[in-house]
């Protein structure tokens, strides 16, 4: 397995287990490589759209569907609480973990809370809707805004 893949798995498994972003040192320990190699791998993973980094190049803002920072989209799965980057990723977390979960979010206009049970086969029937402002061709021009 190449270093980039080792680092990817270390990052994603840390998120899955803890719901929080790992520090580079923790990724290095888990992947069995140096911190310098971790930071180098981050750049490759960013190019593959598997990570979005803070401006320091070392802190993970996003490892989609997981968010490295608190957001309005929270997911409870097992005994862990996660933050998702967006509404899409809120469903993406149970999908990635392959476990049932509960999505806590809101209506962007009315601020009515959304509490959505998501089973292994998907969300319970619901009339709620998803809206994306940015066209698909522009999503990664500014993925944090998207």
């Amino acid at each position: 397995m190449d270093t980039e893949t080792q680092v990817k798995l270390a990052v994603y498994r840390h998120f899955a287990e803890t719901g929080r972003r790992p520090e580079p040192g923790a990724v290095a320990s888990r992947a069995g490589v140096s911190v310098d190699r971790v930071l180098e791998a981050y750049q490759g993973l960013r190019a593959q759209r598997l990570l979005a980094l803070e401006s320091d190049g070392a802190s993970i803002r996003m490892a989609p569907p997981f968010s490295g920072v608190e957001t309005q989209h929270r997911v409870e799965a097992g005994s862990v609480s996660y933050f998702a980057n967006c509404a899409w990723d809120a469903l993406g977390i149970p999908a990635a973990l392959q476990v049932p979960g509960v999505v806590h979010s809101r209506c962007e206009q009315s601020r009515e809370p959304l509490v959505l049970d998501v089973g292994l086969g998907g969300p319970a029937p619901s009339g709620w809707l998803f809206h994306c402002l940015v066209p698909a061709a522009k999503w990664w021009d500014d993925i944090v805004f998207t």
């Binding site: 999908a95 990635a96 969300p123 809707l129 809206h131 994306c132 061709a137 522009k138």
Partner: protein
């Protein structure tokens, strides 16, 4: 990428922010997108769909047209 309780509320939000209403996606469609994107994300060989694959995924869910065309969503 956010949730709305109804199309009317989405329209109100877009109007108040001076932005266009985009195609609204049902939650069953969103689940299909979420599983397609992420169900293997914790595995060794996982990767994000490439633009050509994205086109097929969107079309399969009835999400077609200029808005869903990832033509310039280049990697790297």
């Amino acid at each position: 990428m956010v949730f709305f309780r109804s199309e009317d509320l989405a329209r109100t939000w877009c109007a108040s922010h001076g932005v266009p209403l985009r195609p609204l996606v049902r939650l069953d469609q969103l689940w299909a997108l979420a599983t397609t994107w992420y169900s293997t994300r914790l595995e060794e060989h996982s990767r994000r769909p490439k633009p050509q694959e994205m086109r097929g995924i969107f079309a399969g869910l009835g999400l077609e047209g200029e808005f869903w065309d990832p033509r310039s969503d280049r990697f790297g």
